[in-house]
């Protein structure tokens, strides 16, 4: 098979092989059941921990492997080939851990990162609220100083790994009147006084992942749980999301590849009008577009992830591109996969209907694709003004 040479190192190839093995042996056999009964994939999380994958993006001094954005993309692409609900669960832990990796002090890193790297504790990231989605600055959750404590009040909504994770990075308002500088980031642990969870949400797709409300009612946490400096909450959130977005692009690539594989295999064996349907140009052209768009997505994600790892600081536009294009492709490719499989594609006996249901979230979470276009558009405006 003619494959694009992305010049992976030996270690990067090992990550790909291992994550693919887990997708094939551990995820694919159970994905339909997990989806049907909305079960949190703890067994697979244990396999990922055994495989050292939770340590991929954690520095070596805290028991991780010290990989970058690119290594994380390689892993989640392969896991997403199996199931993006499982992969999102894994990736959400990274989203919760990144703020500690990027902004934590030495004590915080030692206290949390080795447990996250080993998979002993799962992490989560809490920014979104009922009134604050695309408009993140609209958050209402507050954190007030009280002696040696911070006291949190408010409700976070649709938090992936909510209730299952042990460590939460939470963005809350510390100075209501300071606008963008009025928020701070905190580490909250499951079991902290005044911290509870709302009901598990029922979802269209991504059903094996847990999505819950985080409820803070006079939640008291020690002062040393403030992450970074006071007032840096939105900066921490934006830097975290900038680093994580190429990962969503990579998840989209893995999902799209799985949908293409199902489509080609089906089209080669499905006979209508006396011949396999892949012999019809109508089908061939759909498959050709799918394959080309997937490879373009992959190349884009890899190139941008490598640019980020090379130390580029101004990454908002690039990381938005790495999320925007592959996720739109994934929606189109999975929809076309259902079309190619026809009636069978619409049935739950085949995996493509789940892929199509799952794909939709990729255009919504971690910043809707409309917001990604805003980011790219605003960056263009700025860049061209400087010329």
């Amino acid at each position: 098979m003619a494959k694009v040479n992305y010049f992976l190192t030996e270690e990067q190839q090992m990550i790909v092989d291992l994550a693919h093995q887990i997708a094939v042996e551990k995820i694919i056999p159970v994905r339909a059941r997990l989806d049907e009964i909305e079960e949190f994939p703890w067994d697979i999380m244990k396999d990922l921990a055994q495989a050292d994958l939770f340590g991929l993006y954690i520095p070596e001094e805290y028991g991780g492997l010290g990989g970058g954005c690119f290594e994380n993309c390689l892993a989640v692409e392969q896991l997403a080939y199996g199931c993006i609900a499982v992969t999102t669960t894994f990736a959400a832990s990274a989203l919760g851990a990144y703020p500690i990796v990027l902004f934590g002090n030495e004590e915080q890193k030692e206290r949390y990162l080795s447990d996250i790297a080993s998979g002993r504790r799962l992490a989560a990231f809490g920014l979104t609220e009922a009134g604050a989605g695309s408009d993140a600055a609209g958050i209402k959750t507050t954190a007030v100083e009280d002696g040696d404590y911070w006291v949190l009040n408010g409700t976070k909504q649709w938090i992936t790994n909510g209730g299952e994770a042990e460590v939460y990075t939470i963005i809350a308002l510390t100075d209501k009147n300071k606008g963008a500088r009025g928020a701070s980031a905190f580490i909250v642990e499951k079991g902290d006084e005044g911290f509870s969870f709302g009901k598990k949400e029922k979802k269209m797709g991504l059903r094996a992942s847990a999505t819950r409300e985080l409820i803070f009612s006079d939640c008291r946490i020690p002062k040393d749980r403030l992450l970074g400096r006071r007032g840096a909450g939105f900066i921490i959130a934006m830097k975290t999301l900038d680093l994580a977005r190429p990962g969503i692009g990579a998840i989209a690539v893995g999902l799209s590849q799985a949908a293409l594989d199902e489509s080609v295999n089906y089209a080669r064996q499905r006979v209508q009008f006396g011949q396999p349907i892949i012999s019809f140009q109508a089908i061939q052209h759909m498959l050709a577009d799918m394959a080309t768009q997937i490879e373009a997505s992959r190349a884009l994600v890899y190139a941008i992830a490598r640019t980020i790892d090379a130390g580029e600081k101004d990454i908002s536009k690039l990381s938005a591109m790495a999320k925007l294009f592959p996720t739109d492709v994934a929606m189109k490719v999975t929809t076309d996969a259902v079309q190619i499989l026809g009636g069978y594609g619409y049935m739950k006996e085949y995996p493509v209907e789940k892929m199509m249901r799952d794909a939709k979230i990729l255009q919504i979470y971690e910043g809707t694709n409309q917001i990604q276009r805003n980011v790219i558009g605003q960056a263009l405006n700025k860049e061209y003004a400087r010329r």
Partner: protein
């Protein structure tokens, strides 16, 4: 067994042709091995997992041993990527043509070179030969007890022995045995773990020693073809032919005809 030393566990593995890619030459009745991928015998993954489970519980050094051509080191590296500490390839042209007797002798010499061993794990059988003789034969030549077809395992006596469920055609035995012991594993015993990235990287860099007949002090008369009383004269695919015939006439005539046929066939 000395009590103060680190526990020593050996797991025997074999590289076999990948059942999914293997092809059959119908003219000669042999396997076409060219271009066929080699994989670890599926049952051996459960032996590896059993050894690693014991290591997790009691602390131990696990060594994988394989006998085969030099490229069998790939099987050792794969076992190491799951968490096996070390591995040895036992390889020498003089081993060619070994039957299960010569194989168990050769493996026993290699394992003796590893020092005192507390437990040896083998898959119940290899999917190429399907004899299921190597585990028990190896136990005989090591002079240790053997429990075959194990589907459950539990550490007992404060880490000095095992309680094992041995599956039989008509039920099962519960066996309690102190170390040292050789166990052959069924696939129902456990779920093999996935490799870990750190172990995979370590395995990639590891130097895998190759032990020759000389290294293990093997008696030349007991290895390879010389040590193998099994002689394969030919192999063939059995042909199943069936004829049918309706016996007609009165019931008495039919019975007489049937008895005649059965006598001719030597059945009665």
């Amino acid at each position: 067994m000395p009590e103060d030393k680190v526990m020593n566990i050996v797991v025997c593995i074999k590289q076999v042709p990948d059942a999914e890619s293997v092809k059959w030459d119908h003219k000669t009745g042999t396997l076409i091995r060219d271009g066929v991928k080699s994989v670890i015998n599926p049952f051996d993954y459960h032996a590896i997992e059993a050894a690693l489970t014991l290591k997790d519980e009691l602390g131990a050094k696990v060594t994988a041993v394989t006998m085969g051509p030099p490229q069998a080191e790939e099987a050792i590296r794969e076992a190491m990527s799951m968490g096996v500490d070390e591995g040895v390839v036992v390889s020498d042209r003089a081993f060619a043509g070994s039957d299960t007797l010569a194989t168990t002798y050769t493996l026993s010499r290699a394992i003796k070179r590893l020092g005192d061993v507390h437990a040896v794990f083998c898959g119940k059988q290899a999917i190429d030969g399907d004899t299921a003789q190597v585990g028990p034969g190896l136990a005989v030549r090591l002079g240790i007890p053997c429990v075959t077809y194990v589907s459950e395992m539990e550490v007992i006596n404060g880490g000095k022995g095992l309680r094992l469920k041995r599956l039989k055609e008509d039920g099962f035995d519960m066996v309690e045995v102190d170390f040292p012991v050789l166990v052959t594993t069924l696939s129902t015993l456990n779920t093999p773990r996935v490799p870990s990235l750190k172990a995979k990287m370590k395995a990639k860099r590891a130097k895998i020693p190759v032990w020759t007949a000389g290294d293990i002090g093997a008696d030349k008369k007991r290895i390879g073809l010389n040590g193998s009383p099994t002689k394969v004269h030919s192999t063939y695919i059995p042909k199943f032919e069936a004829k049918r015939e309706f016996l007609e006439g009165s019931p008495e005539e039919q019975v007489d005809a049937l008895i005649k046929r059965l006598k001719e066939a030597g059945v009665i």
